[in-house]
Point group: C3
Chain length 149, copies 3
């Protein structure tokens, strides 16, 4: 039996959205990994949330997101560590309210300058993306880690 999402997949509307999400994640993660904290935070909605198992509560809003990311970037720079975030295996579900629900896998790779490269984390990421002024933004992001129970 075909579901609503089954009928949508294969249409050019779905295809365009899927690629928009891929380009969005590529741009988004390249900003993150380059340490551009403030620019990165603008890819969330004004009150966008980021939730991860290591956070006592979700980080909320661009100011908090920028602060969180700046601290991480400073710690990594001090350690001579470069991280690369990969989103892949993207399962995209457009909803009737025009939001996009994504469940995807997310890898983090880590390299030490003049050292080794290694797999750092294997995660699952669930995003709700919305459109503002024509552009996709993260309304909510929830990340889980495979190595945590």
């Amino acid at each position: 039996m075909m579901t609503q999402i089954d009928r949508l997949v294969g249409s050019s509307a779905f295809t365009d959205l899927y690629i928009e999400v891929q380009q969005f994640y590529a741009t988004h993660m390249q900003l993150l990994d380059s340490g551009a904290a403030e620019e990165w935070a603008t890819i969330f909605t004004e009150n966008g949330t980021f939730d991860a198992p290591t956070l006592p509560q979700p980080t909320r809003g661009r100011a908090e997101l920028t602060t969180m990311m700046r601290e991480t970037a400073a710690t990594l720079a001090d350690a001579g560590e470069v991280r690369r975030h990969w989103h892949g295996m993207i399962a995209l579900t457009p909803r009737e309210d025009d939001s996009l629900h994504v469940r995807c896998y997310a890898l983090v790779f880590s390299s030490i300058r003049s050292g080794e490269s290694r797999l750092h984390r294997v995660r699952v990421c669930e995003d709700v993306l919305v459109r503002e002024d024509g552009q996709l933004r993260v309304k909510t992001r929830r990340v889980t880690r495979d190595d945590l129970g």
Copy 2:
């Protein structure tokens, strides 16, 4: 000299198919990794086959596929291990009989609850996908492992 596939790439028909395959693999692998053996098996045709170097002969049909996957899922659950299957570098070739031939790379990541995450396998996957009742299904899957000669 341009081949038939060269002429197809860049057309919206090819693009829509390519994205359909990406979404198909994302959904398919997320079912697999969540241990939903029976649902996962329905993504093969009724007599679909799965061949891998560690199998004495190809697994054939949904009943056998479900059993194989249930056993693997139970073993992993007992060991507190979570696997994530990634398909990428998808080279797609539509054939004249409307089947889709895919050769792609396939990674398997493994995490132990309260332990480490690591790269488990590097594989190459060759699929023949067919459409049934409007939906893509795996008719044949052949997986090889880079660490086996």
Copy 3:
């Protein structure tokens, strides 16, 4: 504020290009990893360049590219080593001169026959792609390595 690229993303023209680039990389890397040096080199323009931090100067032109790749392939074959190149997180920017600028992440996985599979390198790849006789080709490729300062 929307930029020119923001306006393009989501259009079917951008979508088709993005998928063409994905299929191009998949085909390209599968040739590379199979050791098909001469075929691989034809995916560059006649005077295409490849620059990497371990090269004293960029490799230029198909003859040099073929030689470089043949030597690498022979070394790997002698060592019983198989490599897999993955491009992902593709940020695509079409330019007004019809060239395509890509900044993407690039992983290299390595497996030893009857041995282990491991992550070998984490890299960033910047390509300028142009169209010749209807097909995409690499005009310039610049690769950096996260583990090198």
